[in-house]
Amino acid sequence: MKRSLALALAVGAVAFGPLGVLLSRGLGVDWLATWTSPPTLLALRGTVVTSLGAAMLALTVGLPLAVLIGRTDLPLRRTLQAAFTLPSALPPFILGMGWVGLANPKAGLLNLLFGVGTFDIYGAGGIAFVLGCAAIPLVFLPALASLARVDGALEEAARMSGATPLRALLGVSVPLALPAALSGAALAFLFAASAFGVPYLLGVTATPPTPTLTTRIYSEVLVGSEGLARASVLSVELLALAALLLVGSRALARGVLLSQGKGGARRPVPLGAARWPLALASLSVMFVLVVLPLLAVALTSVQPVWGQFSGLTVKHWSSVLSNARTLDAATRSLVLSLGAASLVTVLGLGLASRRRGWLDTLAGAPYAVPGTVLALALLTSFARDVRFIAFDRVAFVLALGNTAWLLLLAYVVKHLAFGVRNASDGFAQVDPSLTEAARLSGASPARAFLDATLPQLRAPLGAAFVVTFLTCMTELTLSVLLIPTGRDVLGTLLFDLQSYADPGSAAVIACAFIVLVLLAQFVRRPKEA
């Protein structure tokens, strides 16, 4: 019991300590005045409008798609599912870059085709659109999983009561999947409200500028000490919004019904004559929302002059690849991501092995904290060296401020949820008698864990490692705020190049991210089957 308590305190301190420091930073500030000042209200409005738009887009595309793919005989279901899952593995910033290349009012490729000024991706609408596309998996995947769990007998009972296949689908299965979809939409809202890269890319330079809470926090941090206090007050507002959404999403998810009976194999609903038209429509949506922006990024990386069709070039590729700065950033990203993935996997395993639900929740909590807020909290906590004095004698000095170690800490704290959740699900699926059989065979508890339990956890732990590694390799928000000046990781390099007018070189790095993520998908595919 004592060990549990100590562990809880340690995890709690890591998860919430920095947030506490951040709160204390804002103590001297007039909170009400800051919250009701016109710039804050404008930023809040920006966050709510763009996030609401993104959540609605994710819901209107994600739910019908889940029904079509999960419950009908639509052709090319696997391709569609893979394509619409992809955005969750990529930083939304890359989709944003793609859309800048496509729909920059003056130089976007679409505007070159259809006439200058036809499309404008800058502003609230554009932010909502890009974040909505990136958030589709948040609605699509839970809805799909929920549909797969609906007992086939429920639909069959509707059929036996006289309903047509379509009627049974719409009247029974879709309502049962709705709570999961709505819960996903709330997460999409949270995802959009926490986003930093896209609102920065599409909001700050828009006319008129569309600030959001995250971009305001960033610009306040740049101001310095005075701004830091205001930023902490804004963070509290964003944090409260996040907590509200998370509670809402949980409450909605509680409405998800698990199947009770065994149910037979479920037949997909035949679409009949509508089969191919619907497939064509789905493919078009997929092309516009997922493929087109990625193609635009690829095209940008080989265009001699941005915004002009004037042949192809490899100059961006050769300059980026031969640049010492790129190599330096890639090495640092690789080391940090491998380190973070290893730590997340090992710590996740250790925490989940305690088999305490609340400990898992506690360790997973920082994942829901918006990246900007988490980064800011760590920044303020470690701005000065932290000293621990043990036994009045030994002093530990933790001087993380302005080092890459702080970024490693941020990666681990943020993504510990991956490790804990995967390990925890793994433990839940391992038959305890496998371990007990090893004990009866003569193995000590430690030996039984190594020989009998751990081998069953290879797949979930491997998944935790890969997901954490990929997420950290392509991470942007934490990196931008926490990386010391003069050093780079790939995410900050991408951000700098895009922000300071070298979209061609930025596109090269974005292409590398896309290739990395696609490779990982192919590597992982056989394991799932």
């Binding site: 007990e436 059989a437 090893a438 009866l440 065979s441 193995a443 000590s444």
Partner: protein, 341 residues
């Protein structure tokens, strides 16, 4: 071969008592079954013997040595037992031979000796041809035989079997039941077998302990248990008897508003009548609810007040469902205490 002794053992989960003052001695080389409905505490008792659960109060001795009790708790790996689990618990990441070899590997034996003893153990369960297969290629019955070989390979003092047959289909269950019986005859290992199936318990055991609500209601040989059930619960759980509560006046028994003539005399508040001792054609008229053809016999169900009286007899009655049929008892057991489920 070793003895297992439980003395006044108590166990509770939270505030729910599961085992209440259980005392039991399993003799060396004996096959003892713990029989009872789910939740009666039989699996918990077995897991306490294994060392997978601590006992709250009382003493547990294996081979005369205290392994769990006040100030003593020997971990499972040092008790020298073997166990077969309901879910097989065959490690999916090891081949059949590697599974069976594991207990010997932990003892630090040489590779040659391990290989020889694994072959021998696989021979006991006729699985030699499958030695190098991964468990994913085996059927349920084969998996359970791997588990049995693994549990026996190190020659344990006692083999514990936790409902090992209940995940198998009927034919396999009978086959494996026979194999357990012949293994036991060859090896002579002390075995404790947990089951909720009275046929398994009666067929395999030297003695059966019938458990209910955390206590042993009766411990006896299968024959004695069947012929002389000590409590109404044992009569109904083991023999499928009708248990009726009522009042006796001379040889007349009144229950659920009907009167029956009982064979013999004696005081009773509860009687147990096995279905084959319900005689049709003479006695008290009861309404026939259902007629179930069982092959060698027919089961009849009668309405007796608000309960059902079951009878089994030859298929000669022309009685139809809904008719009233005269019913009497040819043999009953009397109990002074009221029935308790």
């Amino acid at each position: 071969m070793a003895t297992v002794e439980l003395e006044q053992v108590f166990k509770q989960y939270g505030s729910t008592p599961v085992v209440k003052g259980l005392s039991l001695k399993v003799e060396a080389g004996e096959f003892l079954s713990l029989l009872g409905p789910s939740g009666c505490g039989k699996t918990t008792t077995l897991r306490m013997v294994a060392g997978l659960e601590r006992i709250d109060r009382g003493v547990l001795r294996i081979d005369g040595r205290v392994v769990d009790g006040p100030q003593v708790n020997m971990p499972p790996e040092r008790r020298g037992l073997g166990m077969v689990f309901q879910s097989y618990a065959v490690w999916p990441h090891r081949t059949v031979a590697q599974n069976v070899a594991y207990p010997l590997t932990l003892q630090g034996l040489g590779a040659q000796e391990i290989a020889a003893r694994v072959q021998e153990a696989l021979g006991w369960v006729r699985l030699q041809p499958f030695a190098d297969r991964p468990p994913s290629q085996l059927s349920g019955g084969q998996l359970q035989r791997v588990a049995i070989a693994r549990a026996l390979v190190a020659r344990p003092k006692v083999l514990l079997l936790d409902e090992p047959l209940s995940n198998l289909d009927a034919a396999l269950r009978e086959e494996l039941r026979g194999e357990i019986a012949s293994l036991r005859a060859t090896l002579g290992t002390t075995m404790i077998f947990v089951t909720h199936d009275q046929h398994e318990a009666l067929a395999l055991s030297d003695r059966v302990a019938v458990m209910n609500h955390g206590v042993i209601e009766q411990i006896a040989s299968p024959e004695q248990l069947y012929r002389e059930p000590a409590t109404p619960f044992v009569a109904s759980f083991v023999g499928g008897a009708n248990v009726l509560t009522g009042t006796v006046d001379g040889s007349t028994f009144t229950t659920h508003g009907e009167r029956f003539e009982l064979p013999g005399e004696g005081p009773a508040t509860t009687i147990a009548v096995r279905p084959e001792h319900v005689r049709l054609g003479e006695g008290t008229p009861l309404r026939l609810l259902a007629r179930l053809f069982l092959g060698s016999a027919v089961e009849y169900r009668f309405a007796l007040g608000d309960v059902v009286l079951r009878a089994v007899g030859p298929a000669v009655e022309a009685a139809r469902v809904g008719d009233h049929v005269r019913v009497g008892f040819s043999q009953v057991r009397r109990y002074a205490s009221p029935a308790e489920s």
